[in-house]
């Protein structure tokens, strides 16, 4: 008997004396009142930054003043609205070529107020590794949508047709050395989020 057969045989022989039904839960909402404010506050507390802009013009105008943009030698932008920089992801054959990307700019579908996370659909990128190789990361939430909490967030995701998707909340970090928080572990060392709100 192979492992599979042995495991299923053992599992099938277990007797449960009571029923354990799948719970019907109306997942309680978080205490978020103003999702835009909460999102910014939480993202800030985890080492990220959030900027609200009306449109791409305003975004691009602001972008030139950011240090990570100014000093970046190798920029890979995955948004057609933003100048592609000098690396076109679609022309990259091997993800390993992206090892020296200083700044990656990618799109986020929406944000989550309770934890400052942005949902990034990895399928939109030819190489999802860009999100983690880049020294610095900028995410743009074009929809302007910030939901209150994970409960609302998971309702928005079509998992059936998503092969890779990420909640990204802030830059990479670690506290593995004597519990001292260090921003910038293996992934991006900074995270800036732009939320395009339209003329609100």
């Amino acid at each position: 008997m192979g492992s599979r057969e042995k495991i299923f045989a053992d599992l099938n022989s277990v007797k449960f004396d009571q029923r354990f039904d799948y719970p019907t839960y109306a997942h309680p909402n978080s205490s978020v009142i103003d999702p835009y404010n909460s999102f910014t506050t939480v993202l800030d507390s985890v080492g990220g930054e959030c900027h609200y802009v009306k449109n791409y013009d305003e975004l691009k105008a602001k972008l030139v003043n950011f240090e990570v943009y100014e000093t970046a030698k190798n920029i890979c932008s995955c948004l057609p609205e933003i100048e592609k920089g000098n690396i076109d992801l679609n022309l990259v054959e091997d993800v390993h070529e992206l090892h020296n990307v200083d700044l990656a700019i990618a799109s986020g579908d929406f944000g989550v107020a309770e934890n400052g996370a942005v949902w990034v659909n990895g399928d939109k990128l030819k190489h999802r590794g860009l999100l983690f190789l880049a020294e610095n990361l900028i995410l743009v939430i074009e929809s302007g949508n910030i939901v209150n909490d994970l409960n609302q967030a998971y309702d928005l995701i079509d998992f059936e047709n998503t092969r890779s998707g990420y909640f990204i909340s802030g830059p990479s970090k670690t506290a593995d050395i004597e519990q001292c928080l260090v921003i910038g572990a293996h992934g991006a060392r900074s995270l800036i989020v732009f939320v395009i709100q339209g003329d609100k």
Partner: protein
Amino acid sequence: MSSHAKEAAAFLADEERAHWHDQALWFVRQKRDTASKNVPAWEELRETAHQIKMHTLSRLPEYLEAFETKASEKGVHVHYAKTAQDHNETILKILNSHNVKRVVKSKSMLTEECGLNHFIEKKGIEIIDTDLGERIVQLLEEPPSHIVLPAIHRKKEEVGELFHKHLHTEKGASDPTYLTQAARKHLRERFLAGEAGITGVNFAVAETGGITIVTNEGNADLGNSLPPLHIASMGFDKIIPRAKDLAVFISLLARSATGQPITTYTSHLAGPRPGQEMHIIIVDNGRSEILQKEKFRKTLCCIRCGACLNTCPVYRRTGGYSYKFVIPGPLGTVLAPHKDLKKHKSLPYACTLCESCSDVCPVKVDLHQQIIEWRAEIDKQGQLGLIKKAAMWGTTYLFKHPKLYRTLGKLGRIFLRAMPARLLNAIPIWGKNRDLPEMPAKSFSALHKKKLKQGGNYGK
């Protein structure tokens, strides 16, 4: 002296270090408290998480099969491993079939359980742990002392010394940012050179065949987004029914583990990336035995957050190594005896039954109840030891015979009151640095009887 007690005494001998270790972990527990209080429905979430897990455990064959079918449809090669050996051999086979010589691995306590690293290294394949804490203990050639914070027992100066030796950082440098940046550079090279990435799995969704992996460092994502081969190891208890259930578990996990609202990366993967091969290994390694035992099966709800370790006053003051098991703390205490009751029989007694572990567990595992159950098991299996057994028989007899009990009590008090304090407190049973209570001349019953006789308003 029992095994854990011996280890505890040794750890506590360095008082300053023991306090430092205790304080470091208490800090994490406090962060968890703050984070959980920011979620108004925290206690309901725990109950929901518990119910989802228990439901899943009661229908495992069905959910496992669903997961396997879906994952396979999405191009994943699904394997099963009954034992740790099966797990390791399956992985070796996959690596060999691709001539892999360099592996990068992100955090997986399951791979620790199975002893994967040693097994693979012996076959001449390099396997690098990429989680910073795990890399530290890997270079130190010691096991992790905590399931989430592997190097919590090491001071930054020690890490500085280690990195000076292995990563050529400056001698004497101990600034965590400097050391982390050095590790980033060093591990980047490994990520880019890696031919296979091995990761753990935090949750496996039956409905989609997808897996969810959480990290702060981004190492799991580099590990599965760069190499052309991704192997994910999971215990079968990682299955949850629906993607929507992740809202419950992800809300609980990081808050319980480190006090963060969420980890930096929560990655959802269903199927390999283009040009990549993805394998998932579903492991038993004793889990089905635990599932069989009604009194212990709730342990399989565990989402490996480590909150029970952080809150445990014993773990904090004696460290992970005092448990002599791959997983320490309250979780290890209820897991270890399944593997070897005799070897680990001191663990259920390395506990004051303060019940804090059960209160912090995000999935409501009844840890303290199971610790009590293990104590009963230890007695049932005749492992209690003669001294304890005799003491229990003796005192039970005494308590069943009130007159004898009170007489002996009286004699005991007379004897202890007659002994000089210095001599009395030198008796090692109660301990150095702790005096025995001063014995009163009369017991409560005697005093109460006296007062009753004196009449008046007393105790009619």
